[in-house]
Structures are given as structure tokens and as C-alpha cells.
Symmetry: none
Subunit: 248 residues, 2 copies
DNA sequence: ATTATTTTGATTATTTTTGAACAAATTAAA
DNA sequence: TTTAATTTGTTCAAAAATAATCAAAATAAT
């Protein structure tokens, strides 16, 4: 029995039962437990399931909007840890901007019960918070189906009409040379968020640290605080540039 | 039974019952009381519940939010017939405004494959069209959870920046005396739609014809064409006022 | 057939989870 | 107010699961 075949069977069972157990799977698939563990880890890396101690669970389809699942389910533990820390910075009465990345999205679960205003361009965020205590403001403009978010000139102007106490941002990369994005639209809206908030937080997992991609759109000092799970030595450089770094 | 699974079950129960008891949970989940206590503490740390002595409470007992689905499911046949006719008016290249009513919502299914731009304040419409050929423009501003739509000053200004070839509107009532809404916010946005489109269609089933509710916000002549399943004699009056009536 | 590459399994050390015991704090009762 | 009963936080130990390392087996490439 090879991996693709096992992967298929595991996914199928997970779909039917909702959760799987490593011991049981090892027996059913006739392989050792460590192999099952490796299989599950691979599937989890692809965002196809949630890894638990001793097994795995289905990604709750109600919790995460469909198309978004894969990206949002990758690196869940790290992202949740980052967002848990970020959520503790948010007080009742805050007005916050929320970016459209998959990391920032996971902040939703921790702020559902806070009495705050959230201004966002991310459809998954809107969806996740629509029946919560949070008061929502939707950023208008052209909708991008791929990113499930609104971008563009009108969106940027919308943002400029508001002022937030805190902005929670994501990027595609950050190095001592600055902040990097994969598109102009994302770069522009991130800049707009930063320009119109009193304090900016960058939520980013280790994979983004030191990465330089397509477009450099701003300096590190645009960010007041980086919240990350990374312990890269690059972080010390950010602190030298005046950006606070919170490790989770 | 692992923590994620327990967390799920506890949250679910809390959601249904409003409060939980440690002893009871320990028995139900088949773990020791101290484990339940630890679980509740973690959930409380994340702001997902209030910890009490011996158990936990929901953070803020909110009454079940209005479900769009329910309202949308009433009179489906009539609404679908109306929308089928309305959809025939829409050509590739059109730019259309779509209101947030439950009738207008049912138009989505008939326009998925048209190459048009839709500008809307309705979250259900956005969901229904997000993976279609339709290019979406979202109206920004404060989100109203009850109506699942955006309303207010900012939304009206957003609309004023665009011009549509056609607007598809709903109302809470229409009589020879004018158009009626149940709130100022809805009245204002309907007016904004009408003011910024070349042609206005009112989609309304028989229950709205002749009905006069809370707020009169405009004359019948704001509407170019009424599409309805009604055969009320009131309709003749509308035609005398210069509004075309299409019966389905 | 031989060599490299990938996959799998076994072993060990480490981490995580869980439960038990007991003192401190909180609530309820007298 | 004082006393009794619960609940809680803390510390520690056991059990389970995991990561890491290395060897064996299977597969692919030369």
C-alpha cells in the first residue's frame, strides 16, 4: 500500500467519520504507526485535515469558508498561537483593521466576543464575524474572487475615511530591506491600513521571515510590532530598526 | 477523546444550553474533572466563554440572529418566476445594482453565467456570485447583521460613485401613493440605487402590492418597470403613473 | 546488475497530555 | 461571623504521543 492510496483512504474515512485514530489506521492500512503519523502530517501540511494528538480531525466546513480551507488550515498551530497573542492586545472599544491573509483570518475566533469595531476587506473575516458581538464595517470596491477580498482604488479611499486604533496585517515576506507583497493591489491596501491606524501589528509565521518576493512596498518601520512564532536571527535586526518583536 | 474534540463539544453544548457544569462534562466526555477544568480555562483564555465556579457560561447570551435563508425560502416559486423574467432583461456587458431583499437575492441563480458587473450591498448575493462569471463590486460601509447587508451614509456615497445600466430593487410595500420601507437606511439606499442607474426594476411578489408600511420614501415613478406575479387591479394604477408592469 | 533515491520501520529521547494529591481560595450554610 | 463544603491552582508523576535518528526495504534510474 503506497502513500497516494493511503492518503485517499484516510481522506475518505475522515470525510465519513469526522475523526481518525492513529492506532486504528495503522491496523486498517497494515502499516506502522509512524507511517500513519507521517501521512497525517503531510495531509495537515496541505491543509487537508487538522492534526490532533493521536489522530486527526476534519477541517470544520462551517468554521472556514470552503475555498479558503486549504490555505487557512496550513500551519494552524503556529497561526493560532500568533493570533491568540494578538487577540490579547485587543480591548473592548478598539477599532481595528483586519487584512485579508490566512493568518489574520484566524484572529476571528479569538475576538468573537469582544465589543469592538472591525473594518475589513476580507470576505472570510466578514463571514466569520457576522453573527458575533463585533460590529463590522465592510471595505467597498472591486471583489477579487481568488483572494476572496476587496482591493483597488475605491477600497483604499474607503480605508482613508476611517481611523483605527490598531491594524492587523499580513505580508508575503519581510526582511531587513522591507515589506514584500505578491501584487500591487495587496501592497497598496496594506499601506492604506498602516497609514490610517495608530498602531500596526504584523502577524506572520516563520515562513515569511527573511523572504523577499515580487514587490517591495514599504520599510520595516511601517510595522510597530511583529508577532511571530519564528526565532530567526533576522528578528534581532527588526528590533534594531525600531520594530518590537513578540515571539509566541 | 482529545482536546480539540472536547473543545468542539463543549462549545457546541455551551451554545445550545448556555451554561455547563464541570462534573457533568467530566462524565459526558469521559475524562477527569481536572481535565475539564483545564479545558475550560484554555477556552476562557481565548475569550470563548466565561469561567464560573464549577463550570462556565456563554460570553454574551445573544438571541438567535435573523436567518436570511428562512425569509428567502418563502414564496419561492413566485419569486423564482419573477426573477427568471427579470434575468431575461440582463445582457452581457450590463452593470447592475442588486438590492438586499429576499426576492432580488433569487435573481443570482439566473445570472451566474452572464458576463456582467454586479454592484451590491447584500452579503448573500456576494456569496452566491463569488465563484461565477459575474464581476462583483461590493458596497462598503457599516454591516447590518440582521439584514446581512451594508447600509448608511458611506454605502450611499459608494453607490453615487458608480452608474449602472439597470437596478433591481425590492421594497416593503408599494401603492399608488408611493414606495414604502421599514427603515430609513433601506429607503436611502434604494433611492441611491435608483438615482444612479439608467433603468430601475422593482421585483415584488403579490404580498407587497398595495401595502403601505412604516416609511414612504419615493414616488412610484422612481420605478421604470415592476415585475410581479400579482394580478391586483392596483397594477393598472401604476401603469397610469407611467410605470410599466410585467406580469409573470 | 548496480547504484542512487525514496519509503518504511525500529529505537530512543523529548514533549504533551492526563490524573492524583494537597494547600489555598471561594462559596454556601449555620 | 464562623464553619463546612466546594472549587481551584500547583506540583508531581505516569502514560501516551511525538520528533529525531538511523537502518532496512522497496523503488527507480543508470
Amino acid at each position: 500500500m503506497n502513500f497516494p492510496k493511503r492518503k485517499q483512504l484516510i481522506s475518505k474515512k475522515l470525510d465519513q467519520v469526522g475523526e481518525v485514530d492513529i492506532k486504528q489506521l495503522a491496523e486498517e492500512l497494515n502499516v506502522s504507526e509512524i507511517t500513519v503519523r507521517r501521512d497525517l502530517n503531510q495531509l495537515a501540511d496541505d491543509g487537508l485535515l487538522y492534526r490532533t494528538h493521536g489522530g486527526a480531525m476534519k477541517v470544520d466546513p462551517m468554521e472556514v469558508p470552503y475555498q479558503f480551507v486549504n490555505k487557512a488550515a496550513k500551519n494552524v498551530e503556529a497561526k493560532d498561537a500568533i493570533c491568540r497573542t494578538a487577540a490579547r492586545e485587543i480591548m473592548d472599544g478598539d477599532i481595528i483593521f483586519m487584512d485579508c491573509g490566512s493568518t489574520v483570518f484566524r484572529l476571528c475566533q479569538f475576538i468573537k466576543n469582544k465589543k469592538i469595531k472591525v473594518i475589513t476587506n476580507s470576505l472570510p473575516v466578514i463571514y466569520a464575524l457576522q453573527n458575533s458581538l463585533v460590529s463590522l464595517n465592510i471595505i467597498g470596491g472591486e471583489f477579487n474572487a481568488e483572494r476572496q477580498a476587496v482591493h483597488g482604488k475605491i477600497a483604499n479611499e474607503h480605508i482613508a475615511r476611517y481611523h483605527a486604533t490598531k491594524a492587523f496585517l499580513g505580508v508575503d515576506g519581510i526582511s531587513r530591506n522591507g515589506l514584500f507583497a505578491n501584487s500591487e493591489l495587496e501592497a497598496d491596501i496594506t499601506q492604506a491600513f498602516a497609514a490610517n491606524s495608530s498602531k500596526t501589528y504584523l502577524l506572520c509565521d516563520g515562513s515569511k521571515i527573511g523572504k523577499e518576493t515580487y514587490l517591495k512596498f514599504g520599510d520595516v518601520k511601517m510595522i510597530d510590532t511583529i508577532i511571530t512564532n519564528s526565532s530567526s536571527e533576522e528578528l534581532a535586526g527588526f528590533e534594531k530598526l525600531g520594530t518590537q518583536v513578540t515571539k509566541v
